[in-house]
Structures are given as structure tokens and as C-alpha cells.
Amino acid sequence: MVIIMHLYKKYLAIILKSKMEYKASFFMYSLGVFLSSFSVFAGVFFMFRRFNNVRGFVYSEVILCYGIFLMGFSLSEMFARGFDCFPTLIRKGEFDRILLRPRNIVFQVLVSRFEYSRLGRLLQAAVMLTYGVSKSNIRWSGMKILTAALMIFGGMCLFSAIYVMYAAASFFTLEGLEFINVFTYGAMEYGKYPFAVYGKTILRIVTFIIPYALVQYYPLLYLLDREDNAGYALLPLLALWFIAPAYGMWRFGIKHYQSSGS
């Protein structure tokens, strides 16, 4: 474990070094990522200049919801980016090299890319989260801080699992399935509103099929004192079941992997 952590740090340092060779382009790109999330926020801001609430959620509550959800997403985007770029690894035949090295495969894919430029989104998420927390009238207790932390952690794991599934699919298609973006970027954007806003059908889908609501809507109810049942606070842990099928698909993919590229 210690060796793995050491190696991880080494990898990050190398990637950072290579990025710093193109400083201007790196900062511009980070800025771009920041700005694109910012315009989503601006959209919410202007909607609430006109409307007082949406399905009973007021501005400050929506912002808090968005901040937490975006934080989970941007962490996963930063750390699990290797899986997002996995189709390229496969196509270029780089994955064969990974298979030959005497280290864990998942670990090596994880460190194959580390997206520092996504710091832009992380910064945006941090700003949103701080703003949301300061705007909300939540009386923070230990349990509530734990809830918020679990929401971020659960969101990070859920999005990472989706990235893994996306990577696993590319074992067979050899190219990225673009529509998966709906479940990553799409979900991130629509997660700005508590999922109940989209009506019962959508809420059911994001509860039972892809459990976004378990890391967003239900624990949020507990944070906002609309639900006293502490069970709601622990629901993000339940969302971790989604890692199982993702890992299963990944194992299945590796088993049936036939080399490609040159």
C-alpha cells in the first residue's frame, strides 16, 4: 500500500511536470473548464431572479445541492480520468504495456492520466460549495457534516464507476461511446437541481437504476431538515452497489481482451 501511494505520487509529479511544459495552454484550458461550469451557475442564478422556488426548493438550497454534486463529479473527473481516456489507450495498444507491468491494472489505468486542468472545475465546485453553505440556514451538526461528506464521496464513487463502465465497453467497441456523456456531463449538469424537480419517473430511474438520487436528493432532504430519519444521511453508502456491476464489466472486458493497435 505504501509503495502504491509512493508510486501514485511519482506519477502525479511526472504528469504535472509534463503539463507545466505548456503553462499558458494549461491555464487557459483550466480557465475554460471553470467558465463552462460558471455559465451553468449563471443560468440557475437568473432563473431564481424570476422564480422564487422550484418544487419547494429555494435558491440557496439549489446552490448547495449543485455545489455538493459538482464537487463529487469534479473529484471523480480528476482522479478517474484515466478511464475516461481509456479508449485511446486501447486503440494505441498502450494497454498491452500496462498488462505486462507487475502492478495492479486498475491502478495503472488510474494514473495513466491525471487531469490537473480539471482543477478549474474543482475550484468552481469549491466556490459553489462555500457559497451554498454560507447562503443556507443549516445548523451544522456532526451528523450533517458527515452527510455532506458522504454525498461528495458517494458522488465521486458513482461517477468513477460510470467511467469504468465506459472504459469496459471500449474493450469491445474499441472507440468511446459518446452517449455515455449523458451519464457523466449530462448528469452533472442536471444534478444542479434536486432530482425530484424532474418528476416521479426520472426520480425513480435515478434511484433504482443509476443511483444519483441516493447521493443527491435523499441525503439533501436530511441536510435541509425535511427528513429526520438519519437513514437518509447514510443512503450515499447504498449507492456504492453501483461499483459492483462496473467492476464486473471491467473484469469481463479484460478476460475477453484481444490486443489492438500497434
Partner: protein, 267 residues
């Protein structure tokens, strides 16, 4: 003129080859459209009195926006053009005995129109059958429909004219990523891609409608349903022409300046 038309046909035919990408786009756009309509309906239910459109007009706006996304999205750039300044390909472009500005303009138009052609048919074909309040309703009348087509084309021209300015800036800065990300984020918000312009506070809305931002997707998608009509519609149609003339002249001026000092990169 003939050479531009044949250039257009060439690029158009090339664009039609990318069918898998189009299919992925269609799936994404359906999802996006549904979610957008659901959230706007939720706002409508929260307070119908301050809701600035009818639900039918909202649905038309969203579905047309999704169907023609590649046509009027500010984020749809021609990678090859961006690369040709850094990899030296620009030398070939300059060798041709025609105006680079006009050629690139036509090229952008052909690429975007062929991409949109592939995507809009399946989307429109489904959404006209969705129940009222969710789907695309018929246009208000024949006149509004013809004006919709006209302003869609004019909106495309305004968008390309503004993107051309970005391509021209590239000649001076070489790396365009920074300016581009500013451009896309600002355009997405201010042209009504994030939320339709009528949802902005009234003062901001009025300013936006006088600027080029309000002359792109804001016009055709609202004319179709009759949300934009009468004198305001007339004004919007004229504003599109005005901004097209201004932006195209500015672009050509920049092109002229750039050509005098172009340095061919790469080999």
C-alpha cells in the same frame, strides 16, 4: 460564385459521412431536450404568472434548439481550420486564388449544415408525435414558418461571422484555446443556450436583443412558435442583417491585416 458553390457541395458531402457520430448526438440531444423541458415545466408550475413564455413555445424552443444544436451552437468549431494555423496547412489555403475568408465561411456553412441535416431529421421526426406540452407543435402559420427558415439561415450566418473573428484572431495569437473558452462560455450563456433569453431579467434581455448574441438562436426558435411576432419580430430580422454586415466586415478587415503578416508554422 460557382467555385464557392462547388466547394460547398464537396464539404457538405464529406460531412454526411459521419453517421455514427450523428447517432450518438441524436441520443444525447433527446435526453437533453427532455430534461430541459421537465425542469422548465417545474418552474412553470412553481409560478405561472412570471413565466415568460407559453409551455408550447418553450417546448418548440427546446426541441428546435436540440434538433439544430450543431448548426447554432457556439462550441462547434472546425478543428481542421484551427490546426491549419499551427501546422502550416495555412500555406495551401493562401495559395488558392480565392478569398480565404469567403472560402472558410462557405466551408463552415457546409460542414454545419451537413451535420445538422443528419441530426435534425430523426429528432424532429419523433418530437412532432409527442403529446402536447412536451412535443413540438406545428408552426404558428405559413408566414412564421418561412421566417423561421430565413432567420435560421441568417442566425447561422451571424454565428459563423462571429466564429470567423475568432479564427482570424488565431493568426495573431497562434494558440486560440484561451480566447475560445471565453467565447464559448459567454456565447452559451448570452445567446440563450443555457436558458432562453426571455428568462433573463427584462433589462438584460433588452440589451441582449440589441447585441449579436440575441441575433442567433433567439430569433428563429421563437419565431417558429409565434413567441416572437409583430414589430419585435421585424426588428429582430433587421438586427440579424445588421450584425451580419458588421461582423463580416470586421472579420474581413482582420483577415486583411492578418494576411500581411502571416508566418507559416511547421513543415
Amino acid at each position: 460564385m460557382k467555385k464557392y458553390i462547388s466547394f460547398f457541395r464537396l464539404r457538405f458531402a464529406m460531412g454526411l459521412q459521419y453517421r455514427t457520430a450523428a447517432l450518438a448526438g441524436v441520443v444525447t440531444q433527446f435526453f437533453w431536450g427532455f430534461m430541459e423541458i421537465l425542469v422548465l415545466r417545474a418552474f412553470y408550475e412553481a409560478d405561472p404568472t412570471v413565466y415568460p413564455m407559453t409551455i408550447e413555445a418553450t417546448c418548440c424552443y427546446i426541441w428546435l434548439q436540440q434538433a439544430f444544436l450543431v448548426l447554432l451552437s457556439a462550441n462547434n468549431f472546425d478543428r481542421e481550420l484551427i490546426n491549419c494555423v499551427t501546422d502550416g496547412g495555412i500555406a495551401y489555403e493562401l495559395c488558392r486564388p480565392i478569398s480565404v475568408y469567403d472560402m472558410w465561411f462557405v466551408r463552415n456553412m457546409a460542414v454545419k449544415m451537413s451535420q445538422a441535416m443528419l441530426r435534425c431529421v430523426p429528432i424532429l421526426g419523433v418530437v412532432i408525435f409527442l403529446p402536447e406540452g412536451y412535443g413540438l407543435t406545428a408552426p404558428r402559420d405559413a408566414m412564421h414558418f418561412l421566417l423561421f427558415l430565413w432567420t435560421l439561415f441568417a442566425g447561422l450566418s451571424v454565428l459563423i461571422a462571429s466564429q470567423m473573428i475568432l479564427y482570424m484572431i488565431m493568426f495573431f495569437t497562434i494558440s486560440v484555446e484561451g480566447v475560445k473558452s471565453f467565447f464559448v462560455a459567454a456565447m452559451d450563456l448570452l445567446t440563450g443556450a443555457v436558458i432562453p433569453i426571455p428568462f433573463f431579467p427584462e433589462k438584460i434581455q433588452r440589451v441582449l436583443e440589441l447585441l449579436p448574441f440575441g441575433a442567433i438562436q433567439n430569433v428563429p426558435y421563437r419565431i417558429y412558435s409565434g413567441d416572437l411576432t409583430g414589430a419585435q419580430m421585424g426588428q429582430a430580422v433587421l438586427m440579424q442583417m445588421f450584425w451580419l454586415a458588421v461582423l463580416a466586415s470586421l472579420g474581413k478587415l482582420l483577415m486583411h491585416r492578418a494576411q500581411r503578416r502571416v508566418i507559416v508554422q511547421g513543415g
